[in-house]
Subunit: 263 residues, 2 copies
């Protein structure tokens, strides 16, 4: 079993990628929809929430935990790794590694929520490797995705993508990190705007690939399974409705509500 | 003293109108920025939060409480009125009254957050008065406003307004309720799209007017004062920055953070 958590439902991008590259693994997902968003909270609150989320998942005896939340991956990885007895993979480190491999001109743009960008987590890790970085907060992308505005020919999507991405083109980035698990749903719209020569790094998918590599290396791949269960801390109905945008299937029967404050 | 609360900072539209029509009243505002948005949460969570918000304000011994949150005004007014010992005025009833007076052709459109629209609160009240109603959920308007996208010539604003409002024109509404306290900031963009013959009802301002009428009727108008204090449940800095979009002034010195979970 693999555990995945996020402050909300963006982490379903990682679940989707896990199902693609590790179809025989059972996955338990926790989305902290009752306390979303984490990005505006203090570091100590984020760590407290992250540890609760992880403790909830540890009940299911996971082989590893994928932190599909940009905020938690930015500020709470050390706390998680020091506390948990299983490998913990975060989206930030996974995406940074992939971007560094992908970039030829050493100019990398990072798209993220205002909180992720403000935390400087991508920027610090990339600058430490000697590349030039342009950070672009994209506060409208999450509401666009959560309201189903993802098509590249949607006029609102086109104007919003142009608004945020024109800077990445002037900067000359050859690689762009989609540093929020919602953004892969806008990948086609972003790709159309920036052109096919620019590489888009999907942080949610990269974390899933890191996890797959780790399980394979450790000889821990499952022989059969593939069940998915979902837990949330607010209304399961609202979650299942929006989850359809991410997973392109109905998961209503597989979603349960829990009281995360109890962990 | 008057108490005003909202799930975030949209209620500042009501504070602005109170300052205009009742300049001698002290106002204490609570914005639940740590738990915003309410609109996506379950009814029971919204009621729990609303009661905590009101309990916080009751400490200041207010003459009345203005519920400047469309979501709370839609689903928690009864709970608040049954619990509190002072008059409670909500944006929904205030706007409905004003819209019924304004409409000549009895066709009224309501713009609101998905939760407000889903609650059916405007619709029910209006249908009960025999008018035709078109309800339009506008989930992108709040993120637009909070990120400063309010100008009528902003291409993202134009596309988003056209996306939501074209139905109001086909419907033939002569009156449109701006059923969320963020929407008055888009009034100019919406007005440009629908034309000047369509009346726009500002729910935030109408609630302030109802409150003013009530105080006058009860002989409770203040002789002097006019101090404004602001409390929030997340970073005061972030709040003060965005508040500037609503109040067109700097309130940094007047904002304090509190722990709303303690109420």
């Amino acid at each position: 079993m693999l555990g995945v958590f996020d402050s909300g439902l963006g982490g379903l991008s990682s679940v989707k990628e896990l199902a693609r590259c590790l179809p025989k693994e059972d996955v338990v997902y926790f989305g902290d929809t009752g306390r979303v968003p984490y990005g505006t909270r203090s570091k100590e609150t984020i760590i407290k929430y992250a540890l609760q989320d992880a403790r909830f998942l540890m009940q299911f005896d996971p082989k590893a935990i994928l932190v599909a939340c940009g905020t938690v991956s930015s500020v709470a990885m050390e706390a998680l790794q020091n506390t948990l007895s299983v490998p913990v993979i975060g989206v930030v480190d996974a995406a940074v590694g992939a971007a560094l491999s992908a970039s030829k001109n050493q100019k990398i743009a990072v798209l993220g929520t205002p909180a992720t960008i403000r935390s400087g987590s991508y920027r610090e890790r990339l600058l430490g490797q000697g590349v030039q970085v342009l950070s672009i907060p994209c506060p409208l992308f999450v509401p666009l995705v959560e309201n189903g505005h993802i098509r590249e020919d949607d006029p609102i999507v086109k104007e919003t993508v142009a608004h945020y991405l024109h800077q990445a083109l002037s900067f000359g980035a050859d690689t762009i990190i989609l540093g929020c698990t919602h953004y892969p749903l806008l990948k086609r719209a972003i790709g159309t705007f920036v052109g096919e020569d620019v590489k888009l790094i999907n942080a949610a998918a990269e974390a899933a690939h890191c996890l797959a590599d780790r399980l394979e290396k450790d000889g821990l791949l499952a022989a059969d399974g593939g069940e998915q269960r979902f837990f949330v801390s607010d209304s399961p109905e609202g979650f299942a409705d929006t989850a359809r945008i991410f997973l392109k299937k109905d998961i209503k029967e597989a979603v349960e509500r829990i009281d995360i404050e109890a962990y």
